[in-house]
Symmetry: none
Subunit: 206 residues, 4 copies
DNA sequence: TATGAATGAGGATTCATTCAT
DNA sequence: GATGAATGAATCCTCATTCAT
């Protein structure tokens, strides 16, 4: 790629994160050693410690970057009225975020265990619970609560489960989103979704 | 229950598996050391090596035990006609298996990475793909394929996602199963499910 | 000394302590690496960890062995009447203990800092304070308290300070003891020491 | 005291020495890292290297500063007649020096080991030997030599041993000095100390 | 005067594994 | 069936030091 050592000046921190992300996602946090990361970057292990205080710090820094879009979506959701439309929009936005951040989510799933001793409120699990709490109505019938929850999780699992199905990625995303929105609608019997807002096209992820 | 140290004679292998299962599920395979397992059993590390050739052997032995019910279900499914009813029964049976084996599945999820270098066809992922292939129809519309897939995965994710919701476990299971069966039915427009077979009660998990 | 590897079976723990003692006394705890200890014993570093949980554990184990005679002396002193004679006997016994345990005390002095974060009551300093509290009378005039304290410390410092003076070690010890007993007597004006008990000969330190 | 960051310009070298002194005295030389020193000064480690060539250089520079008063006292002593009065004056001056430089001496004691590979004649030990050689008479009886030695060392040990005794510091100093002078006098039987020169008051330590 | 970025050597510690008994 | 003692390789991490800027 023509990236000579000189051209790399100042971006070492970023490069560490990139490589770490890649390896953590591939092999998991525990199995990835700092030696491996350092070697791939052609720096010494000690150099990593100039940029991050501990190995876990690298993990956390990655996680925080990855969690930000989720946090923003949660913030947005909390400020909206608790209507079906809001929930549908949440799901739609989540679908888009997921599409452009699939490796990140893969990374997060691989490394849930390694992150499970974070401060409460800081884990992926906590964020997912927060998310589902925006979607489900605690007074609804249990099956309807399940439908709401599942609108969210279906997007995760289906995307992964469909990786070996041959089809256009955007088509797959729309198919999954359709099912998610369907579940959501079924979870709200008697309510009417906003007309004219379907699955729609994803914006460019530039 | 009267299991004195003497009474344990001969079941050390089983006890190792139990403890390993517990710890692997809790902290993951990589983070769990043989020292930890040995200490909890009050034996020496060397004793473990009398029963298992390597650490990975413990993992594999656990995995094989856990995978057997899944394999049996797959075998059964393969011998049935590819009808909606078969699929519904698959989902029903899966739901029951899941209920009595939740820790096992938790264990499997935690340790996917550690098992990913197994022979092809031996991983959990492979079995899940096989399972979804029994459920989905490759010629159906994409959203309907998603619905079929999701019938399966919803059972996983929802059960975990509902852990912090207060309700009777059996009620939760039925609610989840209802949604799964619903998805399946919706994935087969025009077909009619066998009447008189609803969510039903789970058999005793003796 | 003809100590073949075979002859060493079972005494590795002791040998670690011996070598550690030697090196800690010579270079101090911090400057001594486990590699050094292991190499001198011709075992691996990991072998050390079979016998001691941490490096500090080695230090503590040494310290406890060394502190025992001191503790015994303290115990004895606490059970005696608080008379001048008792104090004189304490000093006499201390002098003897010191003579046969000089390397140990050298070791302790070298490594005070490394041990300073022990539990209260566990440090050398605490024991010395306890010792001086047996010797001095808090109601006496300050200079007399100083004399009592000094009876103890003089034995330490003088022995070290006299190392480069040529004389028979036992003569040196007696000379120091004489001064210590003198200080003690002067600290108790008006009291009469037990007659017939002078500096005397040290018992064999076999 | 109005020492703004700006006011500190140019005294960085001094500030490094101050912080190093503090930390070396507290934790010892080996346990104190340059990172620690730099952080406490809010500069980079590299900045330390502008002022000192190595870590050991800091130690040596401190030691030389601290040793100067001792060297001056030694020089003075060497030029005086070898009388009891000279010795008494040496002890008196030493007592005063000690009082205003207690942390320094604490520092030196902590870090004897670290300095033990200095050129001969450069160590604290060497100076203490020189000092005792001014005090003791090699032809005197051994116990009298011990008394002379101890006159010096008592001042060290007693001051530290009395730290946990409640009393006015100046009173303590005088008490210790009295004992030291006493020891000296007793070491010179038949000689008469200069009359009218007792323990006296310490000069201001400006 | 200082810093930012890095290095090389070495630190303590842990791990899975082995083997004679 | 199990232990006691040990190993070799790897781990994360810290340190004093350097040097271009």
């Amino acid at each position: 790629m023509g990236s000579t050592p000189q051209a790399r000046r100042g971006d070492t921190r970023q490069r560490i994160q990139d490589v770490a992300m890649e390896l953590f996602a591939e092999q998991g946090y525990e199995k990835t050693s700092l030696r491996e990361i350092a070697e791939r970057l052609d720096v010494t292990k000690a150099a990593l410690y100039y940029h991050f205080k501990t190995k876990e710090d690298i993990l956390i820094s990655l996680f925080q970057d990855l969690a930000r879009p989720l946090d923003e979506l949660l913030d947005w959701g909390r400020q909206q009225p608790r209507t079906l439309e809001t929930k549908q929009e949440l799901v739609r936005r989540y679908s888009v975020a997921l599409q452009s951040a699939l490796p990140l989510f893969r990374f997060m799933q691989q490394n849930q265990a390694a992150m499970s001793h974070l401060r409460p409120g800081e884990t992926l699990k906590d964020r997912m619970i927060a998310m589902t709490n925006l979607l489900r109505d605690p007074d609804a019938a249990l099956p309807d609560q399940v439908r709401s929850l599942s609108a969210l999780f279906v997007m995760h699992t289906a995307i992964f489960a469909m990786q070996h199905i041959e089809a256009d990625p955007e088509d797959k995303r729309k198919a999954v989103l359709e099912v998610a929105l369907d579940l959501l609608a079924q979870a709200h019997p008697g309510e009417q979704a906003h007309p004219g807002e379907g699955v729609g096209d994803a914006p460019d992820a530039s």
